[in-house]
């Protein structure tokens, strides 16, 4: 509101600057020739003063005076011709009114197009001083930064700020914040993993040696840290050790809680690596609906190939994580379905070996295999 009042006052002032001279009385102004005459008279008196000060010789002064005199004579001849008219004509009045109107119309119209009258000034100091509840995330961060600039040894402050930096994609700042938090408040898996993520993100997602060290430090403190596990696998994939990466991810899927936010990320990573997220330990068994649908649209050869890869993946997974009852049973059945009796028998043998020949599981496996027509020995 205040802005509009100021704008109105300014407009009024500007319009008056145009209007007043137009309505004011005309001063008796002299023709241009009079001004010239005045200059020449000034010159003559200056000449006298110069002579009095001894700056020029009398002879020279005489010469100069004669020259100025000739100029004045010439002026008199020219003055006859020029005459000004000071009456105001109709077109002059028209121009005057257009000019007076143009100032407010043009300025308000143009400002309407260009300006942002509703946006107040926002000096930084004011923004940082207002009630935190009204502040944006950026402003809160800036305030926390100001606080930390004053108290750089506040480890808790760095610890709070670091993940916010990560979310705001200010990665180099996040690296600094995590380092400070670790330095001041000590090591923790979460901080180390965060540091690793910040370093990797700052490098455009490349898991460098620095980042790897941080992740490994995190795993030392908490072997199940999902972030560290995930990124280390990413690092493996970036080094070209794809198989190891896939295995690591699949192992993660086996261990993650069903509602873990990392599940999605891992599945996506596997999909990108060209490996199906096969080894889902919890409820879902076997390929998901999408994969089944995809399989149905494939040619028979492709479908066969896809199923074989999936089975091979499962086999790999069981080699690394052998204490998976259901997994073994699924593997045995898969080999039977594929008509690979030898491999089914081999899998049965391995499964029995894992749990011990006398265990409950071994008996269950043997019975299951027998129901499919597979016996442990030939």
């Amino acid at each position: 509101m205040l802005f509009w009042v100021i704008a109105a006052i300014l407009t009024l002032g500007a319009s008056l600057a145009v209007l007043l001279p137009l309505t004011g009385g005309v001063k008796g102004s002299s023709p241009a020739g009079d001004h010239d005459l005045e200059v020449y008279r000034d010159q003559l008196s200056e000449l006298d003063r110069d002579m009095a000060r001894g700056l020029i010789q009398p002879g020279e002064a005489e010469e100069a005076r004669a020259e100025i005199g000739r100029r004045i004579l010439r002026l008199g001849a020219a003055a006859q011709s020029g005459a000004t008219n000071s009456t105001s004509s109709r077109s002059a009045r028209l121009l005057a009114s257009v000019a007076v109107l143009a100032v407010p119309l043009l300025s308000w119209g143009l400002y309407g197009m260009l300006g942002s009258p509703d946006l107040p000034s926002q000096p930084l100091a004011e923004r940082l001083a207002k009630n935190p509840a009204d502040s944006s995330v950026d402003e809160l961060v800036a305030r926390a930064e100001a606080h930390l600039a004053a108290n750089p040894s506040d480890g808790k402050g760095w610890d709070v700020l670091a993940p916010i930096y990560l979310r705001l994609q200010r990665f180099p700042d996040a690296v600094t914040a995590y380092r400070n938090a670790i330095r001041l408040d000590g090591d923790s898996a979460v901080r180390q993993a965060g540091l690793g993520e910040a370093i990797a993100s700052a490098a455009g997602g490349i898991v460098s040696a620095d980042a790897q060290n941080a992740f490994e430090a995190a795993l030392k403190l908490d072997p199940a840290n999902a972030k560290a596990n995930f990124y280390l696998a990413v690092g493996l994939a970036q080094e070209g050790r794809k198989a190891e990466a896939v295995a690591a991810w699949q192992k993660m899927l086996g261990q993650l809680a069903p509602d873990s936010p990392w599940r999605n990320a891992v599945q996506q990573a596997l999909a990108e690596a060209g490996e199906p997220a096969f080894a889902e330990a919890a409820p879902a068994n076997g390929p998901d609906a999408q994969q089944v649908e995809a399989a149905q649209q494939m040619s028979p050869q492709d479908r066969q190939a896809m199923i074989e890869t999936m089975v091979a993946g499962l086999d790999d997974k069981l080699k690394q994580n052998p204490r998976d009852e259901e997994g073994w049973m699924r593997l045995i059945r898969s080999y039977v379905v594929l008509g690979k009796a030898d491999q089914a028998r081999d899998a049965l043998g391995r499964a029995v070996a894992v749990f011990g020949a006398d265990s409950e599981q071994a008996k269950k496996f043997t019975a299951f295999a027998a129901s499919l027509g597979v016996t442990a020995t030939e």
């Binding site: 200059v39 002059a92 300025s107 930084l124």
Partner: protein
């Protein structure tokens, strides 16, 4: 506040349109009321522009990142001085400064122009209004400094680190005062062409304006040169860079204008030529603005490049240069030429000066524009650097400098070269002595160096001779001479100081170029190095933290006879926001000379690359500029009217020897 500034800018644009049209029509039809509009509108336009600029400056000072230009060119951690100077350290803000100065000068004419004929004043203000309107439109259409961001970012992108220097507070405002000051001379010329006649008061007005503009331009160029010298870390003071040439060309033309305006004011001669020079000088200022602002050239001055801006400025350029020259072609024949003079006379000397200066300007123009034109036409990139200018500009300047001392000693209308030469005998002897001393006693002096020193001494001694002769040295007793010296008009001192400053600058250039030495080496802490008799010990690098940068500061101790005799520090600064590294050179002034030091990269073995220069007499380069400015100021303070008394046709030889 920000939006108030924006609104004031729009309002100022609207007023500039009124200022451009109404007084012009008034002058055409002889309507007093319409002509009278010019003054108040100009003053109000200036007030609004000043308000607008203040609003922008306060947005910069308060780090208001809701303003796009502030966000792009400022940072909350910058020291306050750089926050404020950052207002014009970017394209948008610098254009606003440009129109602020333009409207300021316009307002000065409006306020102090009461003794001008009404129609001349109206026309001058109208032409100023045209220039103003064009640039206001340019700002609003392509470079609006008041564009807003919503939501506002919390931190800015920082000012270009090279510009975070005190130089930014001085160089651009001074340069703009110079550039834009010539707009008044331009407006007066175009007004005279519109009117079809040149009033006697015309000359009285043009000379001081040319002088003001020239003074600031001199200061601006000298400051820019010194800034580049210490900030870029190469130790060079002039690079013949197109951006430098862009300011140098108006200076050369402006120097010519200044001299021809003297002839015009004192003798009513050279009227048409002066008028043309005024047009050319401002045209070159506009050309400079175009070269720097359009992004045609890539440099620290270009800030951001945007093709639409280039096209827009090119249109302004074409309109004003083309328009004024066309008007000149149409109307010049109607103007009455001024008085006559003998070729050998003060006027003649000034004409010669003008010939040399305009030719030199043309040379620089060719050297600056040719590579650009070639690139535009064929795409080929060539670089026209120092060798071209040394071969063309140098030979043109040398004879001009050689005849400078003669000018002030010649009489108006008819001069006597032989008499003038006799008076300059002492100066000439001094110059010859300087050549001999330099050639024989200074190690490593080439013939060129000796002659250069001689020329510089010739200029300085010539300027002093002028003062001595005018106070009557040799013909009157010392007491009278002192009294006369004190009573000399300030303009005489102005001339002498300006010419003396020129000599000093030349001496500085010759000294630095011919006697300077340099060394590049890598140093470990504790090592010493010797350069031209000065011993420096490297103390080591220490990391330090500034408000918005971190730096490695290298300390060097200056040793004399094994004892520490002062310290020089040079630093490599890193500005994290812009990810830029700058070099802060270390300079120690010893007498008129300087020891210049700049840090290079750190080697793996812990040593640091150090570049060292010994620059004898280097401060005279800019000191001469300051003396020239002082001369201009002195001349401005001279409130007398200028009447040049002509010499008589046949004068006895004895009379010629007497002071004029």
């Amino acid at each position: 506040m920000v939006e108030t500034g924006h609104f004031a800018l729009v309002l100022a644009f609207a007023l500039s349109l009124v200022q451009m049209l109404v007084p012009l029509v008034g002058a055409r039809t002889g309507n007093q009321r319409l002509m009278a509009v010019g003054g108040p509108v100009t003053v109000t336009g200036f007030a609004l522009t000043a308000l607008s600029f203040a609003a922008l400056a306060s947005a910069y000072a308060g780090s208001d990142f809701s303003v796009a230009s502030v966000w792009e060119n400022s940072h909350s951690l910058q020291p306050m001085i750089y926050k404020i100077t950052g207002t014009w350290g970017n394209h948008e803000g610098s254009m606003l400064l440009w129109v602020l100065i333009l409207t300021f000068f316009g307002a000065l004419v409006a306020v102090f122009g009461n003794n001008l004929p009404a129609s001349l004043k109206a026309n001058v203000l109208a032409v100023q209004g045209m220039i103003g309107a064009a640039f206001f439109l340019f700002i609003l259409a392509t470079s609006n400094p008041f564009l807003r961001l919503n939501p506002a970012p919390i931190e800015g992108r920082d000012l270009n680190p090279i510009l975070q220097d005190l130089g930014l507070a001085i160089h651009p405002p001074m340069l703009y005062l110079g550039y834009v000051g010539f707009s008044i001379c331009f407006s007066f010329s175009v007004a005279a062409l519109i009117e079809g006649r040149i009033d006697a008061s015309w000359a009285r007005w043009v000379r001081p304006w040319a002088l003001v503009a020239w003074m600031f331009l001199t200061g601006g160029i000298a400051m820019g040169s010194y800034w580049a010298y210490y900030e870029l870390g190469w130790g060079g003071f002039w690079f013949w860079d197109p951006v430098e040439n862009a300011s140098f060309m108006p200076w050369l033309a402006g120097t010519a204008l200044l001299h021809s305006a003297i002839v015009m004011e004192k003798r009513s001669a050279l009227k048409i030529w002066t008028l043309l020079l005024a047009i050319l000088t401002f045209s070159l200022s506009l050309l400079g603005t175009f070269l720097v602002r359009s992004g045609v050239l890539t440099s620290v001055h270009a800030f951001a490049t945007d093709p639409t801006r280039g096209v827009f400025i090119l249109c302004i350029l074409t309109l004003f240069i083309g328009g004024s020259l066309a008007l000149f072609a149409l109307r010049a024949s109607r103007l009455t030429a001024g008085g006559l003079f003998h070729p050998i006379s003060r006027e003649g000397a000034l004409v010669l000066n003008n010939l040399f200066l305009t030719t030199a300007t043309a040379t620089v123009l060719v050297g600056t524009l040719y590579p650009l034109a070639l690139e535009a036409l064929t795409g080929g990139k060539i670089s026209v650097g120092a060798p071209f200018f040394d071969l063309t500009f140098g030979p043109l300047m040398l004879p001009l400098l050689a005849i400078v001392p003669f000018g002030p000693l010649l009489a108006w209308k008819r001069g006597d070269v032989i008499a003038a030469s006799q008076r300059l005998m002492a100066a000439f002897a001094l110059a010859i002595a300087a050549v001999l001393v330099t050639g024989l006693f200074v190690d490593g002096a080439s013939v060129f160096a000796a002659l250069g020193v001689g020329l510089a001494v010739w200029l300085v001694a010539g300027a002093l001779t002028d003062l001595a002769v005018k106070s009557g040295a040799g013909s009157v007793p010392p007491v009278v001479m002192l009294r006369r010296f004190a009573g000399l008009p300030r303009s005489v001192f102005g001339t002498a100081l300006a010419h003396l400053g020129l000599g000093l600058t030349l001496l500085g250039i010759v000294g630095t170029l011919c006697f300077g030495t340099e060394k590049i080496l890598s140093m470990h802490p504790g090592e010493t190095v010797e350069l031209s008799g000065h011993t420096l010990r490297f103390e080591g690098l220490t990391p330090q933290k500034g408000p918005n940068f971190t730096e490695d500061r290298g300390r060097f101790l200056l040793l004399s006879d094994g004892n520490a005799d002062g310290e020089i520090t040079s630093a490599k600064r890193f500005y994290p926001v812009r990810q830029t590294v700058t070099t802060e050179s270390g300079i120690r002034t010893l007498g008129l000379s300087q020891l210049y030091l700049s840090l290079g990269d750190e080697n793996k073995d812990g040593s640091v690359v150090v570049r060292l220069w010994w620059k004898p007499l280097v401060t005279l380069i800019w000191g001469g500029g300051l003396v020239m400015m002082a001369g201009a100021a002195m001349s401005l303070l001279d409130r007398r009217l200028r009447v040049g008394a002509p010499a008589k046709r046949r004068k006895p030889a004895a009379a010629l020897a007497s002071p004029t």
